[in-house]
Subunit: 305 residues, 2 copies
């Protein structure tokens, strides 16, 4: 009854990869092998000023910010983190197959709402930006939501060259700024994280500020709140946030060493191609296709020197 | 700071819908209004012999089986349920952004594995079936994974008319039969449920047996197990399953009253169109598109008579 161990191989490929001295060409290697063999130059270390550390009782969640897409929001988020805005706040919403949301659970109640401190209370919408000067590696795969889908600086994104627009995509793990009906009503204080099927209908409708690099499982397994929006009725159901700090404000000894595979490398392209056309013993039929939000962007601990 | 309540409207539309005496035409109504106004004939009551009730300490999960797609697996699952196979088993795997899996955690250990009782220990693969005689309502939207994507009998599915193949799609909530490398190595005893971004690379590679109609939030919030596959190291982390029964074997007084919106109705088509082109105050830009796995299939309690 050996049904279980091999059933449904990890999306990240086999856990233990034995590499030959001479790796075979990419087309005969699985994604996991290609990633394991990627040279060190294909991995980048995110800037500490672009990393948020969210400390929960269960562990640390690490978010990479994308100032190239949302400079005003990222500047405000840095100011909020430096002012300790999120310390003692909570994850106050978990809507199944949609998002968790965190920040000040009393933000709606003027008498109780927390001050944003030195941060700004009004920002412009940053739903999209100009394509000018922004690297973008388009996937060859068809995407129903946008003329082009691909990666920019490590983030899943979509692009409409004719409209001179590019925006971050609402894939699993995307972090966005909650807002009211007015498009310029987000400040970055109330943030949501996608925990289900990618809600790409939100693309270019909200300001996406980054994505979760580590600790998604601490957010995605939050007990769901009641319909329709998953906001907990009972404050005891909230997940307390001990603090959110910029990695650059954390003593070096307490930082998490972390590297992200560059999305503009042959290693990433080859790994994606290997996922499009799987050649392992488990798959009986290759899709010959991959959707933007099905492409994982690998994260690792840097190898020991 | 009224950022929170209206931020990120529910995928299911506004919670409280006030209908005019004469509903406006579909194109100016939101999906939630269209669904609320659907006539009773647009709702179906699933066959009790096609419903599995999984009883957890936290509540009941209801799965609708799809015998029209996987007749042999569904017959075996019925035999397993009638034999009490799952009573006292567990959810023993939770892999983030992928699946939870349940059944006999000792299935791999011949000395400890539970007998399947009167159920069969070998079944043919039922990855796809012939398109003949099967209703299929294709979405007009482009799909990268298959020539056609749409709905059949209430289930998200994909079709390749040239190959005479149709299969159930691995959308959020899909329930499939775990297998080993051999394509005919699933029995239906070990079942997985999709809890993340739709892993459609699995389509036509495993036998999908149905989908979760109610209680997804009891599965999707399971504490994640360790990488790579999320199988818990510690048996104490498993979620015990009290029982899994067919609704048809449950006394009527203990059954859950439940109806599903028919996917071959104008109500469903109009609601889907309203999601493609949203007209509410929150959305600033309509996608003009929807992906198969972003289309919810509404479930309700039958109205009081």
């Amino acid at each position: 009854m050996n049904l279980r161990v091999l059933a449904l191989c990890s999306l990240l490929g086999p856990p233990n990869v034995v590499l030959a001295a001479e790796p075979p060409p990419a087309k005969t290697r699985a994604a996991g092998e290609i990633i394991a063999a990627a040279p060190d130059r294909d991995w980048r270390t995110p800037e500490p000023a672009n990393l948020l550390y969210m400390e929960l009782a269960a562990g640390r969640v690490i978010i990479e910010l994308a100032p190239q897409f949302a400079p005003e929001h990222v500047a405000n988020i840095r100011a909020l983190a430096r002012g300790g805005f999120w310390n003692g706040t909570s994850i106050y919403r978990a809507q199944d197959n949609f998002v968790v949301q965190f920040g000040d659970a009393d933000a709606d109640t003027p008498a109780k709402a927390k001050s944003l401190g030195a941060a700004r209370t009004h920002l412009p919408a940053e739903f999209h930006r100009s394509t000018q000067g922004l690297p973008f590696d388009a996937l060859p795969d068809r995407d129903g939501w946008a003329p082009e889908a691909g990666f920019s600086g490590g983030f899943p994104a979509a692009r409409d060259p004719a409209a001179n627009r590019v925006w971050l995509a609402h894939c699993y793990g995307a972090v966005g700024a909650g807002r009211n009906n007015a498009e310029d009503s987000s400040t970055g204080a109330e943030l949501y994280v996608v925990i289900g099927q990618s809600p790409r209908q939100l693309d270019d409708n909200l300001t996406v500020v980054g994505r979760v690099l580590q600790g998604m499982e601490l957010l995605s397994a939050a007990r769901r709140g009641p319909p329709p929006m998953g906001i907990y009725d009972n404050p005891a159901d909230r997940t307390p946030i001990r603090s959110i700090r910029l990695a650059s404000d954390v003593p070096e000894a307490e930082r998490s060493a972390l590297q992200v595979l560059r999305t503009d490398t042959a290693s990433f392209r080859d790994a994606t191609e290997a996922r499009r056309n799987r050649i392992d013993d488990f798959y009986k039929r290759s899709a010959g296709h991959i959707d933007l939000c099905n492409v994982p962007v690998p994260v690792r601990s840097p190898p020991a020197r």
